[in-house]
């Protein structure tokens, strides 16, 4: 009960430590957090952890099943799937992260501008509504058609699809903050717009941005890997989880693990981000809890 009243007293974001402690007490969230941390570390340190080249063929050890000499087996070219997955995780996560930074960054900017300058609000939000009326898969198809299939096309598509979602969330959060007295006070002392947004508006909109980014990261990875699976994203032999699953599809009946291993990895990563995002939302904003 005391926690609830303190939130009301201080509308600022709860302290980081408190949020982390709350996440740690919930088993699902704690596991998800640990898994996310582990995958991020694995992706960053892939070259040191792997100890082998993800592109080097070994035709004497093709399609080995998991277990034994190769923990997750080998693919049709005899490449160790542990090594491929480590590098694949790297490409997939990077693809998601870059899209999220570009799309989310533009979305945050649009959201703040719309909330701050009411005159352009209508125009910006109609524009966002237009973008929002397209499913991400159509952006993926159209952009892959214009620029040709590849990781760049996927990143552009995912970024574009993220902008309107982020913009709406940030605008909503910023409008609430804009009504508070201290914004008026900051204006009264003659603070510049840019400084006001950066110093007072942005810090108080961080939790919805953070929650959305976590949940969106899972979706972006899912979409990106689906586009790669379709052949519109990362191209073989690039080690990317969706592209690896797509390659494995050709050998489904002889060596199902080639497709299953990267698919399960995508599933687990996305699941972890979704569980973590839900838990973060509950911890940071009890009002949104459903």
């Amino acid at each position: 009960m005391t926690a609830a009243t303190s939130v009301v007293d201080a509308p600022a974001a709860p302290k980081r430590a408190g949020v982390l402690r709350r996440l740690a007490t919930e088993p699902g969230a704690a596991i998800a957090l640990a898994f996310v941390a582990a995958t991020l570390l694995a992706a960053v340190f892939a070259p040191w952890l792997a100890g082998a080249d993800p592109y080097e063929n070994n035709l004497r050890a093709t399609m080995r099943p998991p277990g034994g000499e190769y923990l997750l087996g080998t693919d049709a070219q005899g490449r160790d799937l542990v090594v491929r997955c480590l590098y694949g995780l790297r490409v997939t996560l990077l693809m998601g992260l870059v899209s999220l930074l570009i799309g989310g960054g533009i979305g945050v900017l649009v959201g703040f501008l719309a909330a701050f300058y009411r005159r352009i609000d209508g125009l910006l939000m109609r524009l966002m509504d237009m973008l929002l009326s397209f499913p991400a898969i159509l952006f993926g198809l159209a952009i892959a058609a214009i620029f040709g299939p590849g990781i760049v096309a996927v990143v552009i598509a995912l970024s574009v699809a993220t902008v309107p979602l982020m913009a709406r969330i940030v605008r909503g959060a910023a409008l609430v903050v804009m009504r508070l007295d201290y914004i008026e006070a900051a204006r009264a002392v003659g603070m510049s717009d840019a400084r006001l947004i950066w110093r007072h508006l942005a810090p108080n909109c961080l939790s919805p941005i953070f929650v959305f980014a976590t949940l969106r990261f899972g979706q972006v990875i899912l979409l990106g890997s689906a586009l790669s699976f379709l052949g519109l994203g990362a191209q073989p032999p690039t080690a990317e989880l969706g592209a690896m699953a797509s390659e494995g599809r050709n050998f489904l009946f002889f060596a199902p693990h080639i497709a299953v291993v990267p698919s399960v990895l995508i599933f687990l990563v996305v699941l972890a981000f979704n569980v973590l995002g839900d838990a973060l939302r509950d911890a940071l904003d009890p009002k949104l809890r459903v």
């Binding site: 237009m130 009326s133 198809l141 979706q219």
Partner: protein, 313 residues
């Protein structure tokens, strides 16, 4: 009511314009000269020049765009550069199977999702509720292709229960129905979770409302309270939320069609893009986008029909 529909139609116009512009841009990035393609390999320069004039390729771009819109209005979406088949004809052949797949998926996943969501909301916090919620999170996290590959491997390949490549005929024949089963299971499978989750939230909302308390207070049977007073009102937001998820469904359909070699628009689109068949890519993207816009409109109007308050605002 009519005013509401008219307003929604008006807002859809700029979006449709954007789609058509994208379609036009796609045709501009073709590395080959469309006139040369249309003329065929044996054409003389004179013929090519004539076709170029005929297609309006010697005019300024904005003029070409207008001509392009004119051709679209007549149902002329161009000709595939791979097999010379008119794009409109190919689209006509693939729209049916795509609708079939979507209908086959929604037919079972929406009722199941609504059922699971309602029961989960009613027994909030129970093991069943937790299981449904876990299933829902898993549903939005699992790659569609993974579900498809697993079903192909077990049901199709190992147990040999159902076919898993292509369409075998209309759904009213046994073969057609059998061929549709696995794709519809795959696509519907990832849709059950989100529907259950949305229903649960909506029902929870309504269960706390005054009119439900009144219904209980006057001694109504619990089944009547849940079905007539709670679920019926909860269905209103669920309809919109399902409408919003159609994009998610479309993405899943493209992947599902590709895995199961289902001859739909999504698979056609992917194939066209991979083979740089721009007229075909343009046609599929326009049709998918317009289809999506129309579905959104329908959902919106349906929402207004279900909830008179929407019309007023």
């Amino acid at each position: 009511m009519l005013a509401h529909i008219a307003r929604r139609l008006l807002t859809a116009i700029p979006v449709m314009f954007g789609v058509l512009l994208i379609g036009f841009v796609l045709l501009q990035v073709v590395p080959t000269d469309p006139a040369v393609v249309r003329a065929g390999p044996l054409a003389t320069p004179d013929v090519i020049e004539a076709i170029r004039r005929d297609l309006g390729l010697d005019r300024p771009l904005w003029m070409q765009f207008l001509l392009y819109l004119g051709r679209l209005a007549q149902g002329d979406l161009g000709v595939s550069i791979i097999n010379n088949v008119p794009v409109a004809q190919e689209l006509g052949n693939t729209i049916g199977p795509t609708l079939e797949l979507m209908a086959g998926s929604l037919f079972w996943s929406i009722p199941l999702g609504i059922l699971l969501g309602t029961v989960a909301a009613y027994w909030r916090g129970s093991i069943f509720d937790r299981a449904v919620m876990a299933f829902a999170v898993a549903g939005v996290s699992v790659p569609v292709f993974f579900v498809g590959l697993i079903l192909i491997w077990f049901v199709g390949f190992k147990w040999q229960l159902l076919p898993f490549t292509g369409r075998a005929g209309p759904i009213w024949t046994l073969e057609g129905l059998e061929a549709l089963a696995l794709p519809a299971l795959t696509l519907g499978g990832v849709f059950v979770g989100p529907v259950a989750r949305m229903t649960r939230t909506a029902v929870l909302d309504v269960l706390g409302a005054d009119h439900v308390r009144t219904a209980r207070a006057k001694g109504l049977v619990e089944r009547m309270v849940v079905l007539h007073h709670a679920l019926r009102n909860a269905l209103i937001p669920v309809v919109t939320l399902i409408g919003l998820q159609i994009g998610f469904l479309l993405g899943g359909a493209v992947v599902t069609e590709t895995i199961f070699s289902w001859p739909g628009v999504g698979r056609l689109a992917v194939g066209a893009i991979l083979s740089s068949d721009m007229p075909m890519a343009q046609g599929t993207i326009i049709v998918l986008s317009l289809g999506f816009i129309v579905i959104n409109l329908v959902v919106d109007v349906l929402y207004a029909v279900l909830d008179p308050r929407v019309r007023a605002s």
